[in-house]
Every structure is written in C-alpha cells, then in structure tokens.
C-alpha cells in the first residue's frame, strides 16, 4: 500500500533517506512546474526544484506537520523564486523571441513536429502574457490553476487576506485575457483543437484567431 506524505515525512524525519526519496519522486515535477510557470525559465526552474528539495531534506526535522508537506515545499520554492527574481532585478524572464517579436514558425510537414511547434509557440505566448502579471498575481494564478490549492491555502502561503487572494486571481485572469487578445489569441481554449497547419498559416499573417 502506498504511504501517505505524512507517513513518509515521519520516516524521513527519523533518518530514512529512501522515504524522503519517495517524497522527491512524488513532488519534484510539481515543484519544477511551479517554478517554471512563475519564472518562465526552464534551467532556473530546474535549479530551484533541486534547491527546494535539498533544503526540504536538510530541514525535514524542523517540519512539524503544521501544514501539508506539499504546501511547505511550495513555500520554499516560491521563496527561492522570489529571491531569484530580486537578484536578477526583473519580475519575469522570457526566452528572447525572433526579431519581429512573433514566434518562429518553420514550415514543417510532419504532424508531430507541427504539434510541437504549436505547443512551443503557445508556451511562448503564455510565458509572455504571464510576465505582464505582478509576482503575486502570477503566483496566485499558478497555485490555483495548476496546483489546485484552495483560496485559504494560497492565502496562508502568501500571508495575505483571503479577499486579497481572490482579487489577485481576478486581476491576473483579466490581465491574461487582455494580453492574449492583444496577441490575437481568441478562444484559445481550442488552440489544441486547431490543426497545426491551420494555426501556422494564420500565425504567419500575424493573427491567431481561433474563433471559427
């Protein structure tokens, strides 16, 4: 039977590093994804993921179960993300785009490569849009949208009132909506539905209108 996080934490606290490794296997992807979506940079996200888990291992004896283990990891990761952003003196970093600011869209004929291209371009668009949010808005959107935290859990993580969290989420979503509309991505929920060739053809016209 699979052990719960709490059981593994108890074993890890008693010195069982293999139990901690099971926790690592369970949470490393989530931590990496959190850091990537907050920072928009793959390499740094991986570094922060590694540092988060290392700090958690070193501090596991001080973890008294006052919060969920995952929340504790998220807190460490978000602190590291904040440190990194302050160190770099920028709120979000993106991979430089092509000279005209539009994603590069090579004329590929293989479906899978086309799909990859579409997804990569969507990733760039999303990273750009997320970069326009404040750090708090971005973190709130990411924690709610991708990690399923409750409003209260986010409030606890951010040390903010519940109402502030909800306001940040609304503002973040509204800002993303405006940014995506500005980039010509309408009805983007269906972006994966559109055949890659169609999307690429539209993108070459600098308009990605996915509303029929």
């Amino acid at each position: 039977m699979q052990r719960t996080d709490e059981e593994l934490v108890a074993l890890a606290t008693a010195g069982d590093s293999e139990s901690f490794n099971q926790l690592v296997g369970r949470w490393e992807r989530q931590i990496y994804a959190l850091a990537y979506r907050v920072l928009g940079r793959e390499e740094e996200a991986r570094d922060i993921c590694q540092e988060t888990l290392l700090r958690a291992f070193r501090g596991i004896k001080g973890f008294k179960g006052q919060a969920k283990f995952s929340s504790w990891l998220y807190r460490i990761a978000l602190n590291l993300c904040r440190d990194w952003m302050r160190r770099e003196r920028r709120t979000a970093i993106m991979t430089p785009l092509d000279t005209d600011g539009e994603p590069s869209l090579p004329d590929l004929s293989v479906d899978t490569a086309e799909e990859q291209t579409v997804r990569r371009d969507l990733g760039r668009l999303m990273t750009e849009a997320m970069a326009t949010l404040s750090e708090e808005q971005r973190t709130t959107v990411v924690l709610k949208e991708y990690h399923g935290l409750t409003f209260q859990e986010i409030a606890d993580l951010q040390g903010s009132p519940l109402s502030t969290v909800k306001t940040r989420l609304y503002q973040g979503l509204s800002m993303l909506r405006r940014q995506l509309q500005r980039k010509g991505v309408h009805g983007a929920a269906a972006i994966s539905a559109v055949p890659a060739t169609s999307l690429m053809a539209r993108s070459h016209r600098k308009v990605v209108n996915l509303d029929r």
């Binding site: 990733g123 503002q171 929920a189």
Partner: protein, 270 residues
Amino acid sequence: MTDNSCIEQEALVEYLYGEADDQTRQRIETHARSCAQCAEEIGGLREVRGTLETWSPPHAALGLRVVADTDDDETDRGTSLAAVSRWGRLRRMPAWGLAAVAVLATAAIIARPEVQIGQGGMVVRIGWTDAMTSPAQTVADAPSGQELAASVTASDDDPRRDPQPVRGTPVGTGGGSPGRQSKLGDTAPGATPGPTNDAWVQGVRQMILESERRQDRALVTEMEQLEQQLTNRRRADLAELERMFTELGDGDAELVRRRMLDYMRRLSSR
C-alpha cells in the same frame, strides 16, 4: 464590482472555480442571463482558463535523489541531491569545458578503448590490435569494487535509475598512447585480488540486474499512468459530446452544431 461586469470580483472567481455557494451561483447565473456584459466577462475568463490548461512546462529530466555523505552522518553538511541531468550539466558547463569534452570524446573514438572485467580485475585496452598491448602498465588509483559500483550508478541520470543512495567516486582512467593497456584492480590500494574481485564483479552484475528490474517496474508504472490519463481524457470527451447532444434540443442548434464540429476537429487532431 469588476471592471467589466456588475458582479463582485470575489464572487466571480469563486463562481469560476466552482467554489461559490448555491445562493451566489444562482445569483450570478440569473444575472448573466440578462446581462450580456457579465455573460461575456464570464465567458472570456473561462476561455483564459482553457488556454492556461493547454500550457505545459517543457519536459525536464529530473529524477532527483538524495545522495548522503556517509562520512558525515551526524550532520547534513555532506548531503546533496544527485545531478538533474547530464544535458543540464552540459548546458551549464563553460565553453572551455565543452571543448575539453569534445576533445576527450574524439580521443576515445580514435583510441578505440576496450573494457573487460575478468578474474584479474577490470582491464582497459586502448589501441588498434592486441599485439600492441602491454600488460606491464597499471593504474594506481583504481577504485574498489564498491566505489566502482557507486560511480556507475551515480553517472546514470535516467530518472528511473538505481534508487540506492550512493556516493559517487571518480573512476580512475587509464590514459596513454595507442597500444597502452591499463589494468585496474591489481595494484589499487584497498583492492584485494582473487575471490574478492569475483565478489565485486558479481556485486556489480547484481546491481545492474536490480537496476534493470527497477527500470522495468518504473516503465510499467509510467505506461499505466499514461493509459489512465488517456482513459480519463476519453471519458471527458465522451461526456462533453453527450452534453452537447443534450443541448441540441435547446433551440440554438446552429451554435451547438458549430461547437460540436470544433470539438470533433480537436479530437481528430490528437
């Protein structure tokens, strides 16, 4: 109130995430039916959520593991996590480092090294013919069997690699000109000849076998998870189609038909 609608921000996000109480939900839905601006706002924010759903981080080879320093058990100072991936390390390597790796790799190809593990330990031959080899030259810094096993495991960056927490110890490499033979295990400090070598060769083989079994199990687990995801997706698609069919009778058949076409196109493009 929000910027674009009559609904309070807090109530709107609670509604969007399905966390509004019944009273709030009914109030918002009733209002949205009669207020085009609010209905548009809700629809727009839902579209954003749909777009967010399609955004995935690039794949990263993680597979992190705790590597405890057994010499320093009383403190955590010797603890670290195994490297993320060989490619990640390469990306962080400076240009001169990459150049050095390239030179070594080229030299290895030219030298055609041959590695044998036998009764006498590990033998590394570098050269083009057996006749050019010389058994006289040895490497003094060869690892013990345990260290070799550790280094083999530590260099494996596959996320499904051996989960044993081990300490990586560099393996001594037998350099030399073509035709030179390096013998590991005979003169190494701490290494013992004969039966002990057999034992560690067996140990290495056993570890490799165990590692392969673990990788197999991990692969099976991954396949099961993938299958589960596909099954869930299929169920969700089916539920969505069924919902659309039920909407067909509501009057706006043309809109539903177009949405269904979009949805079918999306499914067929997967």
